[in-house]
Symmetry: C2
Subunit: 212 residues, 2 copies
């Protein structure tokens, strides 16, 4: 069955790989599954046809025969469960990898998204400049905790897994902030993710869409 | 093997059931698994012994023999995968339920946590009053989308599942804000969750800790 994902017709980041379809593309490249892409405009994302696939009007979505999924974390987990290479086979190690996937989107990403909100949506507000350090410090707390756990390991828990795919993808959003460089081992961790051939193929595919 | 979870020695909410151990207690009650609780102080949460279990120094954690997990979503999913009653048996329906679990913590909860940040951590800031409506409107957007999808159904996708357990738990945080009551079907959805005997047992157990 053909896998079809959705992506922005024109990504807000202009092709820097930060839109969430890159995470799904990366997972599919890691497991060697081909896929088709349906591009959607900002307007189409809020229309009934897309809302039927994604109740919150976002991308990516994932279709495979009768199955339709939304939420990047769930899509990546679905891919990892059905194809080898993204989750450990040991049951306990597998559960720990899933814990890191949730940590990426529920504990590490929210303060990082707050930074985007502060810098973009609230950039013209009178409090923008004074509030920014508070937002950045909440990210710093998380990065210090993550760096302490990672130590000098290559990946979060043994071999590369969907946990690292998700965590690297979340941390990539910090590149332009300089915050990642406060922890060289974390910056090196992200660079290891970006160096994977599957990531490079995923990045190139989304860039091709946004370079047209 | 005995299941051991961690919870606040004294919850910041004083026993309103909003601390995340309630979600894990609820899941364990739904599947009929007994568990022990180890209470941790705010200071102990940031010490090495607890950080070894939870890299971000939070509760709950989950221990079962050699397995140690953190992240509520992952713990609830682990419980749901190992015991019947919280996930559909059909593979596609199961994948959709997991998508809703991720949606609860990654799409619906972040703006709700922002409201707590605005009201508590930033309540004494000069921008507090003027910024609050922006934060509330971001929640309203999510609630309207969720209400549109739920319609008049009892649960998100067929029978009650871990998806509803997570979504109801996230929405419960809005009780005191009044925002939930702007969508009576959503308020009724949350009330259906709270009416479940397993939820009532979980709520009573955390209240007992906080009433000592």
């Amino acid at each position: 069955m053909t896998i079809i994902i959705t992506a922005f017709e024109r990504s807000p980041d202009g092709g820097k790989g930060l839109a969430r379809d890159t995470r799904v593309r990366w997972a599919l490249e890691e497991v060697g599954q081909p896929y088709d892409v349906r591009l959607v405009s900002f307007r189409a994302m809020k229309e009934p046809a897309h809302l039927a696939l994604h109740p919150f009007g976002q991308i990516p979505t994932y279709e495979e025969g009768d199955l339709a999924l939304f939420e990047t974390g769930a899509i990546v987990l679905h891919i990892a469960e059905r194809h080898g290479g993204l989750l450990p086979t040991d049951a306990d190690a597998r559960a720990r990898a899933i814990a890191w996937m949730f940590a990426a989107v529920n504990t590490v990403e929210p303060p990082i998204l707050d930074l985007a909100t502060a810098r973009i949506l609230e950039s013209n507000k009178p409090w923008a400049e004074e509030r920014l350090p508070l937002v950045e410090d909440r990210i710093r707390t998380r990065l210090a905790q993550l760096a302490a756990r990672l130590g000098h390991a290559d990946w979060l828990d043994g071999a590369f897994s969907a946990a690292d795919l998700m965590m690297v993808s979340v941390l990539l959003r910090l590149r332009s902030s300089g915050l990642l460089d406060e922890h060289p081992p974390l910056a090196a961790y992200v660079a290891r993710g970006e160096a994977r051939p599957a990531y490079k193929r995923a990045f190139a595919a989304q860039l091709a869409v946004n370079s047209r």
